[in-house]
């Protein structure tokens, strides 16, 4: 991803998240693609957070009609163990979102701090951090995640660690580039000239200018995290049956493809909608916030 820096001075950048003309929400409203993405993401988050309060059957409860096709009573049909697939798919959002949010939050935090240290301090810190991160870049992303989960054991908690480890170097690079450029800008020079401390320069002048770059990257990282959690649970390396997890449901459904295609359709569709939402949002935000692309 190309790194770019918003042209605003740091005072304006502090209003990045406001509703003003330059705010993120205003930018989303201007961009239909971002708006569509935001709606999908909000729906996904609302289901993940509120699924416990919905009048649904227990996702583990056994009903009467095995492998039934979708009906009014069972909108997504039932699975091989006669559980309500609609309820299972909605509950699947919860696990998917937990893994995605925690892993990306950890990667954002650690990666950004490493990127700040590396870019702002330079020298030996930059060299060491850069070399260590290069090692993580030397593995295909999904393979690295797979290796970590294989070592730690198949469990959603370990999937969170794995995705965080894969994404930390990416956030480090995404932050380091703009920090290098910002460090040389006039307003940072001016802050230094009037005697601002290093900490103040970083917190008040550098970090606010990184936020719009970061928010785009976070959105794209979340899409990858949902995909990867799905893939790892499909391969049996995340949540274990009977947990309502999208990947597990798809894998279980594979055995019954010939008589119950619906088992293969709905969990996959759920993953795709969540991933597409984050992709649309990230893409739209990048277009909306990047003055060069506007």
């Amino acid at each position: 991803m190309a790194t770019w820096i918003p042209e605003s001075a740091s005072r304006n950048a502090l209003t990045t998240f406001g509703l003003g003309r330059t705010g993120v929400l205003a930018a989303i409203a201007r961009e239909p693609v971002a708006l569509a993405g935001l709606l999908m993401v909000v729906a996904y988050a609302a289901i993940a957070l509120g699924v416990g309060f919905l009048p649904l059957r227990d996702p583990l409860q056994i009903s009467s009609d095995r492998l039934a096709a979708p009906t009014a009573a069972f909108p997504f049909g039932t699975d091989a163990l006669v559980r309500d697939l609609f309820s299972r798919v909605l509950f699947g959002a919860r696990l998917s979102m937990q893994v995605a949010v925690f892993s990306v939050a950890a990667a954002t935090l650690v990666g950004s701090v490493l990127g700040l240290v590396s870019g702002y301090l330079g020298g030996i810190a930059d060299l060491v951090i850069g070399r260590v991160m290069d090692v993580f870049f030397a593995f295909p992303a999904i393979l690295l995640a797979l290796g970590i989960v294989a070592a730690l054991g198949p469990d959603p908690k370990n999937v969170i660690i794995a995705i965080a480890v894969v994404y930390t170097p990416i956030f480090m690079r995404v932050v380091r580039g703009p920090v290098l450029a910002l460090k040389a800008r006039d307003f940072v020079e001016a802050a230094r000239a009037i005697g601002a401390t290093q900490a103040r320069i970083v917190v008040r002048h550098i970090v606010p200018n990184l936020l719009s770059t970061l928010i785009v990257q976070v959105s794209l990282a979340l899409s990858w995290a949902v995909l990867t959690e799905g893939a790892l649970s499909f391969l049996g390396l995340s949540a274990q049956p009977p947990a309502p997890s999208w990947g597990v449901m798809l894998n279980e459904g594979r055995q019954y493809l010939e008589f119950a295609t619906h088992l293969a359709v709905f969990p996959g569709l759920a993953i795709m909608v969540a991933v597409l939402g984050f992709n649309l949002l990230g893409d739209g935000l990048r277009d909306a916030l990047d003055p060069q692309r506007r």
Partner: protein, 317 residues
């Protein structure tokens, strides 16, 4: 150019050392004792027996010595033995590598064949209906989980249309080229579609950048036919960017192959890895991860060289 090559190769050494260290640590991170893991259970062994086994495998040594002896054995061509089959890890990997490489290569070909023409058309006819369809299709392609796409493809082509067998597998290309390609087609499409979408987006954006450049306006202003402008000025410069970005992504196919091999029962390194993980065959896991990582690093060096060749500014900088 040879100096540039030497620089890239030397630059890869610390990375490879790091990769070997991390792969070595994967196994040491494992919960429980590696011996118990190798034997499946530790209950039948007395503490004395366990200790002598630990000494036999060198596990009583300090970590850095263990790493050193593992590394030196690797250089002698000894990556240990699979506990399941008892065969050398390198032989197990070498047997399965062709299937994985062929799958990744075929997926890359599909991605380029779909992505570049579509991206180019989309950029030239910016804002047209084709452009909108291509962009939406690109985003959907990026968001499709390969394990879902693969499942749907099996449902459609094998179960409903009955065009292709759903058993999957692999046939040596030299032995039966037609059967090889027939089995390769669906997995390659599954693996390649996301990259095709990414390639289309990269091509579109690179071409739009070039189409807006001053030298393209000059070429048009001096009266060159649009086809000539496109071929000589737009394509050549735009594709440099695409090649680089594509190179970075192609390596990721080696990781994606793990998932696709599992769905289509392709006996490649990825499927071997998954089986080895389930069976706790750690020497094989270690070997498989290391093999793919080394290939990945080699591929990245190749892409760097290609970029240096296409764009002299890079290698002279």
């Amino acid at each position: 150019m040879s100096r540039y090559l030497a620089q890239r190769l030397v630059g890869a050494i610390p990375t490879l050392v790091g990769v070997s260290l991390l792969t070595f640590l994967f196994i040491r991170l494992l919960p429980g004792d590696a011996i118990a893991a190798r034997l499946g259970t530790s209950t039948a062994l007395s503490p004395e027996q366990l200790a002598s086994l630990r000494a036999y495998f060198g596990l009583d040594q300090p970590l850095h010595l263990q790493y050193w002896s593992w590394l030196t054995s690797l250089f002698r061509g000894d990556a240990g033995y699979s506990i399941r089959t008892g065969r050398p890890v390198l032989v197990e990997i070498a047997e399965r590598l062709p299937a994985t490489l062929e799958l990744a290569a075929a997926a890359a070909v599909i991605a380029v064949a779909i992505g570049i023409p579509l991206g180019l058309l989309s950029a030239i006819r910016r804002g047209s209906r084709l452009d909108v369809v291509a962009r939406v299709g690109g985003l959907i392609g990026l968001s499709l989980p390969s394990f879902w796409l693969g499942t749907l493809i099996i449902v459609l082509f094998s179960l409903y249309l009955r065009w292709l067998p759903n058993t999957g597998g692999y046939v040596d290309f030299v032995r039966d080229p037609l059967a090889n390609l027939k089995l390769l087609l669906l997995p390659a499409i599954t693996l390649g579609l996301a990259l095709a979408a990414a390639t289309m987006r990269m091509t579109r954006s690179a071409m739009l950048d070039v189409l807006g450049a001053d030298y393209v306006r000059t070429a048009r202003a001096k009266g060159l036919r649009p086809a000539v402008v496109l071929r000589r000025h737009v394509l050549k410069n735009g594709l440099i960017v695409v090649v680089t970005l594509l190179g970075i992504q192609v390596g990721q196919l080696l990781g994606g192959a793990v998932v696709v091999e599992e769905i289509f029962s392709v006996p490649g390194v990825g499927r071997m890895l998954l089986t080895a993980i389930v069976q706790r065959d750690y020497a094989l896991v270690q070997g498989g991860v290391l093999a793919i990582a080394i290939l990945f690093v080699a591929l990245n060096i190749f892409v760097d060289l290609l970029y240096g060749y296409l764009d002299p500014r890079i290698r002279l900088a």
